[in-house]
Amino acid sequence: EVPKALLPVANRPVLSYVLEQLELSNIKDLIVVVEGADAALRVGGWISAAYVDRLHVEVATVPEDVGTAGALRAIAHHLTAKDVLVVSGDLVSDVPPGAVTAAHRRHDAVVTAMICSVPVSGLSEAGSSGAKDKTKKPGRYNIIGMDPTKQFLLHIATGAELEKDTRIRKSILRAVGQMDIRADLMDAHMYAFNRSVLQEVLDQKDKFQSLKQDVLPYLVRSQLKSEILINGAPQGQQAKENGNDKVSYRILANASTPSFHELYALGPNGSAPVRRTHKCCVYIASNSKYCVRLNSIQAFMDINRDVIGEANHLSGYNFSAQNNIIHPSAELGSKTTVGPHCMLGEGSQMGDKCSVKRSVIGRHCRIGSNVKVVNSVVMNHVTIGDGCSIQGSVICSNAQLQERVALKDCQVGQGYVVSAGCEYKGESLARKEK
């Protein structure tokens, strides 16, 4: 009901985190691509309200189910710059996009992907679910191969490939000598592309659906035998660029040893380059940085918790001495406690003897007396009756919880009314069911 990009994280749409980071890196010409006209209207409305004078944002609509590559194909004619940064709207991160683009430009790469460590979900959460997670291995999202300097991307496996044995081509290993393979990193879905290359790949491979699963692996695979620069229209232009590059290579060569790409490109006698190569770079977000994608309900909960918890610098709020945020207009009843790592939005009211722990409560919520909210996200305009107990749940806007409702690990849909005295565990409640 709410576009994913507008889901509230600490009472702000998740998209705002990305936009803010981009703004910080001084990237101001943005195109926000939204799937489906409905969602586009809402996202566009929100952006124009929030960023009207700060960012130059265009909102483009693409039909549903075209995939990320399809979306870029659709808006290709809008792109003009030499390099394009592609970020997923659900990324909550404090890694400066500027660092990614800098790495990209430094190597004159075709693509630079940001990778980060795999998030450990539910680790900081105490209790049974946390213990369970610890016994499990952290999930694997990608298998990533890099050169020893951790600058170049040599191998990437996603999705179904993870279930199979990893196959690595010897030719690239021969060229590099050493490849570090990591299973504990994942693709954060922030890419810098060389525009002309990206467009050419999209044009040529019209079956490519997803950047992550098709385009990126393709570019990585073909890096030692680049087809992009050989065939297709921009050949002349590329040749010229290559000419310029040679000069700059020589300048760079003084500063650093040539990368294996250049060594490989050289002929056997060290003569002029005979092979066409392109570079795929990586930018590894350091462990101290926060970088999570909001792509599941669990992730949504985790991010909400983290943003007001460990990664609170992201939220942009000032925390009180109790390590929580209570909007001045919020009203608290007597003997109500709001613990650390909590947030209470503006105009929310709480009755007596309530306790809130590690939770986010949106704007204009009405919460009765004797209510317990633990590890949960309560969106705006939610009414919670007396004596409710909410644990590990998400309650969407305008929902209504009548008296003595007990929820554990539930999701309550927008405008849903939970009748008095009900107890639910691990269910998702939405209006449709009614």
Partner: protein, 753 residues
């Protein structure tokens, strides 16, 4: 015995644990030196002299190894002699190694050993190794310090009893063109855990052909981070725990140290033994595996990378040699003509005479050689007591003891002259040939390790007799083989058979010729192109493009195959059921079990069952049709076959109706929903077009029968007709054929409404 041994080892381990680190270092360290490489790479030279005694810059190889072991703090060395064991033992007895303080050399002799594995098994039986030991072969040159590697090994061993071996590796990037290292060994792929340095994967030549490395998914599940190396070289120096010996005994099929033992341990996840690596950075370690590494290691020694094991430092068995400018080493008592030019990086042995105007560069000349005038020697290895007459040319060759080259003889690059060969006047020995007094063994055993040992055990005596009866031998062979090595030449040129000439240049002393390099780099480009072509071919067809995706394609094929097999199985089951009069219920059971094992839907079952039924229906009339056809003489056969459908259609229809009636229960049990019924119609259509064209004129009628028997509902037929509405004209043949019937169905349903 084994138990005793293990107890001893355990006791030793316990004793070690209790000692403090300082004592650990003082624990007498043992080493096993294999004085036999169990390969045939140095033939024909090794037929007459063991590899470890071949001179490397005028010092037998084994001396480098022993000197290093002594310096590295090894207290006791077991030299395992196999081929030419007598020569090795004699040499060691006469050398100073037996009289060193704090360093004991013991020899173990065996003649019926054919591999390193056998050797270690024998040593295990002798029960002489009590603690950690260094496993090395007698052709290794190194100057590394063992302390750190040993320390690491012991610490790991203390923590994890399964860490049985530490391999020494060294950085060395193989040439991307020839795909072999500087030492001429094949490229090596290793996966190493960057944190623990555990070896996880080891691939050498044995599985060379594949273009990809396949890492088991479990490997990545257990280790989040792996380093894949193509730029490392195996030094063949291993620090082993005593368990290694018992492992060899337990696995009696382990022969080769790397191919069997290392890979065996890596694959075996039951015992959980682990191998670790230790990388050396600044020190030297290399094994002489082939002629090319002989060449390279010699050059390294001359250029002092192996210091202190260099010609001018007396370590063992080498004569006093002086280092002069430009890397020239000269022993004493050299007679050199004033006009002779001796170039850089050359070693000249004791008592050698060099005539006027001869040019020598980048070469090693042994002791007591006589070199005439106007001789050109470049990049060559001349051993002791060689006589080279005037005007000879030698480029990148190895010339063994006692060879005589008559005036004007020329050796092309890569030639190896074994002991006491005589090359005739102005004879040109072609490149890469190997010349020996002994004839090339004709027995070709597929197992190279076996071959060496078999022959060498025999050649010990043989070479002795050759020595004694040298006079006769030479006269005989010179007569028999005069044309082969020119006038006065003695010896046989070995024909190159194993590996073929193709590979000869890879391991020869001569540098790789230019044309080979360009050829190879072109081949490499082709390789790449092939890969990319595959890729583009796939990507244009809309498939994803990686290897795994290619295998996805396989999966699709698999499933296609599956359905074909499934159909066949169902048909077979059905036919059997008809023949043996099996009850319908049983057939249903059988088909169900097939369905489960092939993971098929009930629609597939319905299709398959229907298919088998129709096939059966054809069979009976079909046979009679053939009978009929053969009755007609050939001109009429055309007429007959045209007439055939009309003639037989009645019978066929009758047959079909019968079969459908008998087996309708079977078919119905799979027709749970309308989709399956449509599947049957589609299947029938397909049959009519392809495998059973006999039905095509009967399509509408059989459809009617199926409807009458309540197998197909009118809904299914109408849906099928609707679906076909938009199809190609060719697809609509049967819809049109059954148009009347469909029309009738439509009207009937409307009437009902």
């Amino acid at each position: 015995m084994g138990a005793q041994k293990k107890r001893a080892a355990a006791a030793a381990a316990a004793a070690r644990v209790s000692e403090d680190p300082d004592d650990l270092a003082r624990q007498p360290l043992q080493a096993i030196l294999l004085a036999d490489s169990f390969t045939t790479k140095f033939r024909p030279i090794t037929l007459e002299r063991p590899k470890v005694l071949l001179p490397l810059v005028n010092v037998p190889m084994i001396n480098y190894t022993l000197a290093w072991l002594e310096a590295a703090g090894v207290a006791e060395v077991f030299v395992f002699c196999c081929a030419h064991s007598k020569q090795v033992i004699d040499y060691l007895e006469n050398s100073e190694w037996f009289s060193q303080p704090n360093f004991t050399v013991k020899t173990i002799e065996s003649h019926n050993i054919i591999s390193a594995g056998d050797a270690l098994r024998l040593i295990y039986e002798q029960n002489v190794i009590h603690g950690d030991f260094v496993l090395i072969s007698g052709d290794t040159v190194s100057n590394m310090s063992l302390t750190q590697a040993l320390q690491e090994h012991k610490e790991r061993k203390k923590k994890d009893n399964n860490a049985v071996m530490t391999m020494i590796i060294k950085k060395s990037k193989p040439s991307p063109i020839t795909r072999q290292s500087r030492l001429g060994t094949d490229e090596l792929f290793m996966a190493i855990d960057p944190n623990t340095k555990q070896l996880l994967y080891y691939e050498d030549k044995a599985d060379h052909s594949k273009g990809t490395i396949c890492l088991d998914k479990m490997l990545l599940a257990e280790n989040p981070s792996i380093s894949l190396h193509n730029d490392k070289q195996d030094c063949y120096i291993d620090i082993c725990s005593p368990e290694v010996l018992s492992l060899f005994t337990d696995n009696f099929d382990y022969q080769h140290l790397r191919r069997h033992f290392v890979k065996g341990l890596l694959l075996d996840d039951i015992m959980g033994y682990k191998i670790f690596t230790h990388e050396i950075h600044s020190s030297y370690a290399a094994r002489i595996d082939n002629y090319r590494s002989y060449d390279i290691v010699s050059k390294d020694i001359i250029q002092r990378w192996t210091y202190p094991y260099v010609p001018d430092v007396k370590f063992c068995g080498n004569r006093a040699t002086k280092l002069e400018r430009r890397g020239m080493y000269r022993a004493l008592e050299i007679e050199q003509s004033r006009s002779a030019q001796v170039g850089s990086f050359t070693v000249i042995g004791y008592g050698t005479k060099i005539g006027s105007n001869s040019k020598i560069s980048d070469s090693v000349i042994g002791e007591g050689c006589t070199i005439g005038s106007n001789v050109l020697i470049e990049g060559s290895y001349i051993w002791d007591n060689v006589i080279i007459e005037d005007g000879c040319e030698l480029r990148h060759v190895i010339v063994c003891d006692g060879v005589i080259m008559k005036a004007g003889a020329v050796l092309k690059p890569g030639v190896v002259l074994s002991f006491k060969v005589v090359i005739g006047e102005r004879f040109v020995v072609p490149a890469y040939s190997k010349v020996s007094l002994l004839q090339q063994p004709t027995v070709h055993d597929s197992d190279e390790e076996l071959e060496y040992a078999d022959n060498s055990s025999g050649t010990v005596e043989f070479s002795c007799t050759a020595d004694q009866s040298n006079g006769e031998m030479t006269s005989e062979s010179s007569e028999a083989h005069k044309p082969k090595l020119g006038t006065g030449g003695v010896g046989y040129i070995w024909s190159i058979c194993e590996g073929g000439q193709e590979e000869e240049w890879r391991h020869s002393v001569a540098p790789i010729p230019e044309d080979k390099l360009t050829e190879l780099s072109e081949a490499m480009d082709d390789d790449q192109e092939l890969v990319t072509q595959d890729r583009t071919a796939l990507s244009t067809s809309g498939e994803l493009i990686s290897d795994s995706n290619a295998s996805e394609g396989d999966d699709n094929e698999d499933s296609k195959d599956d359905s074909v097999y499934f159909e066949k199985e169902v048909e077979a089951t059905f036919l059997r059921a008809v023949e043996e009069n099996v009850k319908v219920d049983h057939v249903i059971l059988e088909v169900n079990s097939l369905r489960l094992s092939y993971n098929m839907t009930s629609a597939d079952c319905a299709g398959a069952v229907f298919y088998s039924m129709m096939k059966l229906a054809i069979k009976t009339p079909h046979s009679s049709a053939i009978g009929l056809l053969t009755l007609y003489p050939s001109p009429f056969s055309m007429v007959a076959s045209n007439a055939y459908p009309i003639y037989l259609s009645g019978e066929l229809q009758q047959n079909t109706a019968n079969i459908i009636t008998t087996w309708q229960k079977l078919l119905k049990s799979y027709l749970l929903e309308i989709d399956e019924e449509i599947e049957i119609i589609l299947k029938f259509e397909e049959m009519c077009l392809e495998s059973a064209k006999e039905f095509s004129p009967l399509f509408a009628r059989i459809l009617h029968i199926l409807y009458d028997k309540d197998i197909l509902q009118e809904d299914a037929i109408l849906r099928w007709a609707d679906e076909k509405e938009g199809a190609d004209e060719s697809d609509k043949v049967f819809v049109r054929q059954s148009e009347k019937f469909i029309q009738w169905l439509r009207e009937a349903s409307e009437e009902e409404d």
